[in-house]
Amino acid sequence: MEQSSQFWSRRIIWLLLAIATGIFIVVKVKAVMYVSRPALSLYEAVERVPADKIIVVSCNWEPGTRGENGLQTEALIRHCLRNGKHFAIFGWAYPAGPQLGQQIAERLQGRYHRRYGTDWVNWGYKTGQNNMVRAWAQNIPGTIKEDILHKPITSYPVMRGIRSARDVGLILEITPSDTLVTYVRFVYGIYGTPIGYACTGVMAPEGFPYLDAGQIVGLLKGLAGAAEYEQLLHYRGEALKRMPAQSSAHLLIIALIVVGNVLYFRARRRGEAPGRRLST
């Protein structure tokens, strides 16, 4: 009987979660985001990039985290296209990353009258991780050579004068993994190139020591980070639309944690659940 109730309680929680999020997906509720300091700093860093330098949009993510990294990429690329900042899409952790970035940039470029090759370029996926990034920082045309369309990157106007990491105004590392350290180690640590970090919610706590030490200029954490960026762009995109559903799910989980704890302590008082005081 107890096993049956445990079996169904989990399923009921999944169902409650689906209802709590589903309602706010279907019913429109306007979300207003409080913009955090790390998100604002990243926005300001993109604004500060001079015209003769390029922004590297490092798409080190894959479809599994599209719900977070995809929306972050979209917000950041939108900012670059809107302000006419030259950028290069790049990836070295997941083969699908640059292709996903390409789809987003192609979809948005028409709205801001920008063109591939003139305003942005896609360096594609490159293997080699640490060694490749180290070589790339020293010599961009020599390491990248060809773009995603297999054309020499030096043939594009957007790449004129871009030789090393010193010609990169900002690196935007968008990732669900521990890839930030490679850029900090071999690019920021040696060339001082600023880095912005857009990560999944899970990875956000690991980003704060870098932010605190000034090794990254700003941080977007998960869907909330993407929504904050959309707020800064004064654009009501997918991230802002999804925030009510996100908040609803959070409230439900908080309520479930409270209920779970109350039930546990009641069961412990009756001697039905094991319990032990913490000790060092």
């Binding site: 997906i25 985290t65 060809e146 919610g201 706590p205 989980i253 060092t280």
Partner: protein, 238 residues
């Protein structure tokens, strides 16, 4: 009567699925909504694990793994090996890149007792390289972070910053004392500090858990939004 092996069943099911998809595209059975229908079926099949373990989930899980592996393999061939290795060797006369193939092949000698020493050469050289890069990492990554942990306990700029810095200092010292295992923590001060460190560590882990929940919910919302607004088109919205 012999039962059909599970692997063969899965292979037949996969082939049948591929044929249905191909015919659907070839004769435009699914029209423009093919992608949406396929994505919806895949999403629901994967979410079926929420009820219980089942064969549909397993089947689609293997499809996803196969697709991801196939896509990675294709990308590495077209984006890396072809332009970075094959073209220089075959078309640009840079024959010396053949040695890269020989070196990388050494990794596979691990499967042979006679030649496994070759694998150690290749692996050893990579480990040496990683160690060298690790030293660079210590100075450029951890150095600034250690320097940043020396915060003034009192600042006239803002009382909030001062409180934050004091809190940071207490957390740093107490958590470090918790992880100090070189001697037994008997002294009441050390014991109390370690206990406080453990509690503060739990607060940090709670924050990480909160962020994890946020991340997982974002991914759930992404899929639910697709199912409700694109596939089912609830209230006619896209």
């Amino acid at each position: 009567m012999n039962r059909m092996p599970a692997g063969l069943k899965a292979l037949i099911a996969l082939a049948a699925f591929a044929v249905v998809v191909y015919l659907g595209i070839r004769y435009r059975v699914f029209a423009a909504n093919l992608g949406i229908w396929l994505a919806a079926i895949c999403t629901l099949a994967i979410y079926s694990i929420l009820y219980r373990e089942n064969v549909v989930f397993r089947f689609f899980e293997h499809i996803f793994i196969g697709l991801a592996t196939g896509y990675s393999f294709y990308t590495i061939i077209t984006q890396v090996l072809q332009p970075k290795w094959w073209v220089p060797v075959a078309k640009e006369g840079k024959w010396y890149w053949v040695f890269a193939l020989l070196f990388s092949t050494m990794f596979y000698t691990v499967y042979s007792k006679r030649f496994s020493w070759m694998n150690r050469l290749a692996a050893g050289s990579f480990m040496g390289l990683s160690a060298g890069l690790g030293i660079v990492g210590f100075t450029t990554v951890l150095g600034p972070q250690m320097a940043a942990s020396f915060k003034p306990l009192w600042t006239s700029a803002s009382p909030y910053i001062a409180v934050n810095n004091i809190l940071f200092f207490i957390t740093l010292i107490t958590v470090m004392s918790y992880f100090f295992f070189s001697f037994e923590q008997r002294h009441p001060v050390v014991k109390g500090s370690a206990r406080l460190g453990r509690w503060l560590l739990m607060v940090a882990l709670g924050a990480i858990f909160g962020n994890t929940v946020m991340g997982r919910m974002s991914l759930l919302i992404d899929r639910l939004q697709f199912l409700l607004l694109q596939w089912l088109q609830v209230f006619g919205r896209h």
